[in-house]
Subunit: 389 residues, 2 copies
């Protein structure tokens, strides 16, 4: 093989950071008795009523291309669902169905990010949108949440945001947040919105965990406070709320009047999402509330097990996780979270996600996904004891 | 609404050419009794044995994220299938499953196209990859096939290709070709490969119609003649061979040693293709040969009806369509194929695709997709008579 086989691959692509989570997980591929708390999904398969809807769609011959915007039944269903959740009419003319939240984010990057453009990302955060920015040649400006040691909570660093927002094309916020479980409140959202209106900066709001919240039905959303023509893209997904990670179905809400631009981008990315999956999506939304209620009930139990266990270790500190299904904790005396995760996996068989996955400053931090059965979680913490004590 | 709502959308995205086919089709949305020959799909729903495999996958709980490369069963199955078709071992380490051929092309563009890079596209061609190049900031160099009037066949313009290849990052070739039905022969492929080896230029070979060919089992492929480490990306799809357009499942074959780069790009585009669809893809390949045989038999009948009908019109000329399921014909005395298609649709209810969809120089050309039942095709040509006579 030639040594320089990759010499004409773009530099930015060759140097794209691969996920430290994948690095850790790849080290035990094929090994048995691993307890995988590293990935962001529950252990619940998609409920049968949703699968049944896909089967019916197949029997009905819904196996052809769909419109770039998505099938009209699903677009209308999302419009009603989102309008009802956010007590505000979200027109179907603002909604496009995508091949998962992930592809919605890539499309947002393609629409907005010119080479050298600066995009603010509030970290720690699931890193994939930062990589989309880099693929498009843009520059990521990380502005970390502040960990207030006194109150032991996460706080938005408004001062830093104000400093950089003028030069930024967009700001990316994931709330409820993966990995911290932090939820941005409406007051903070209003402040960001006002700032962005003033500077004509886009907001890309990744709200895929909006239903994974324990003290109310839905998290605060930029949809609650914005106008139809604000420079706002809201990304959502079927993956988390309806346990459909493997289906690759999501949606984006864009400003009124711009849908045709985004339809073109859907065409040139995946053309249109899976047709039978879209038909199942209609049923997921229309008949899924009971499922969500039960899942949140179970997740709350798992969250309490995880947080109570973590509380027992004096080396461990963490702000309370309000939402999503992660606990993000600091181990005071470590300095290389990736190494810690490799060691832990080797010694205990429990898979953790290193904080370095989620932006700069994660060297002492670890994420676990607690969306597992109480039994498995308790077993995992039993095994983790020697590493965390 | 503010007048400048789109002012920060990238210029290249705002000016992306929308598909003239979609423009024509959109003019009759909701109207009845349209005969749609404009889109590139058959009227055959996905066969039941493939749908059944997806249903089984759902019942078996295959609803979680898969590996970025795709599920190993499918990667291995594609490796065996491709190796057997092309009489050459195609290692599974070169194969990545994608969310349709479309997303494989977008991923190829992301990997290779820096701003201002020049990419040669052999036209006429399905335009979507040209738009991917533009999304990445690259420049398309169209090099049209020559229509030899004497022999009435399409010919590669090697002289022009040789002139531009030094400055090009890549050359994109779709063979068997949409819209012309042209098939590149092995001799031409060898010449292109030698040229690209010399100049270190990438070949992006879009071979999604490799099985839709009437005089042999499979079309000539760059896989037949290349080495594992040639700068070659071959794109394929489940859409055409197994009537799975609405499923969004395809694959790409990349040079040995580069798969990890492309896995990263899969992660940041759609993460991994639909898990239940991938399980059905295994069955499509393993049990699909009879279906393909029957489909080709039927398509051949439809092709002959289409070409025989077109032969009756003295204003119409066309090189013989060897493969894919399109007839691409010139109407000598028109000068605006898009207007002609609008008029034809309004007057006859038959939907045609304007040649301007497929690159420069299509003003006199029209594409029809003949992958329809003989009855419908005959009916369509009866209606088209006044427009073509």
């Amino acid at each position: 093989m030639s040594d320089n086989i990759d010499f004409k691959i773009r530099k930015v692509i060759k140097s794209l950071k691969s996920s430290p989570i994948r690095n850790v997980a790849n080290s035990v591929i094929g090994k048995k008795n691993i307890i995988p708390l590293y990935f962001g999904e529950t252990d619940i398969a998609t409920p049968a009523f949703i699968s049944k809807a896909m089967k019916t769609a197949l029997d009905d011959g819904h196996t052809f291309y769909s419109a770039n915007q998505g099938i009209s039944e699903l677009v209308e269903t999302i419009s009603k669902y989102s309008s009802s959740l956010h007590k505000k009419k979200i027109n179907s003319s603002r909604i496009m169905v995508t091949s998962a939240g992930m592809n919605a984010l890539m499309i947002a990057a393609e629409a907005l990010v010119n080479p050298k453009d600066k995009i603010i990302c509030i970290t720690p955060v699931w890193p994939n949108f930062m990589r989309c920015i880099e693929i498009m040649g843009g520059n990521v400006i990380e502005i970390p949440l502040l960990h207030s040691k006194k109150e032991n909570i996460w706080k938005l660093n408004l001062k830093e945001i104000k400093k950089y927002i003028k030069d930024a094309k967009a700001i990316y916020i994931n709330t409820p947040n993966n990995p911290t479980g932090w939820v941005m409140n409406s007051q903070e959202q209003s402040e960001i919105l006002e700032l962005c209106r003033k500077e004509k900066t886009w907001i890309i709001s990744d709200e895929v965990y909006e239903r994974i919240i324990y003290d109310r039905k839905v998290a605060p959303s930029f949809l609650d406070i914005s106008k139809d023509d604000d420079l706002l893209i809201v990304v959502n997904s079927f993956s988390k709320s309806w346990a459909m990670t493997g289906w690759r179905l999501g949606w984006m809400i864009v400003p009124e009047g711009l849908i045709s631009i985004f339809e073109k981008l859907n065409e040139f990315n995946v053309a249109s999402p899976s047709s039978p999956a879209q038909h199942a999506g209609v049923v997921a939304i229309n008949e899924g509330e009971k499922f969500i209620e039960k899942m949140i009930h179970d997740l709350k139990i798992s969250r309490d097990i995880a947080l109570n266990n973590l509380n027992n270790f004096s080396r461990v500190i963490f702000p309370y996780s309000q939402a999503a299904f992660y606990a993000y904790f600091k181990i005071k005396d470590i300095s290389d979270s990736e190494k810690f995760c490799f060691d832990t996996l080797e010694k205990t068989g429990v898979g953790l996600a290193p904080g370095t996955s989620f932006g700069k400053g994660g060297n002492k931090w670890i994420r676990i996904c607690y969306a597992k059965s109480p039994d498995l979680l308790n077993k995992a913490f039993e095994k983790l004891k020697p590493m965390l004590s």
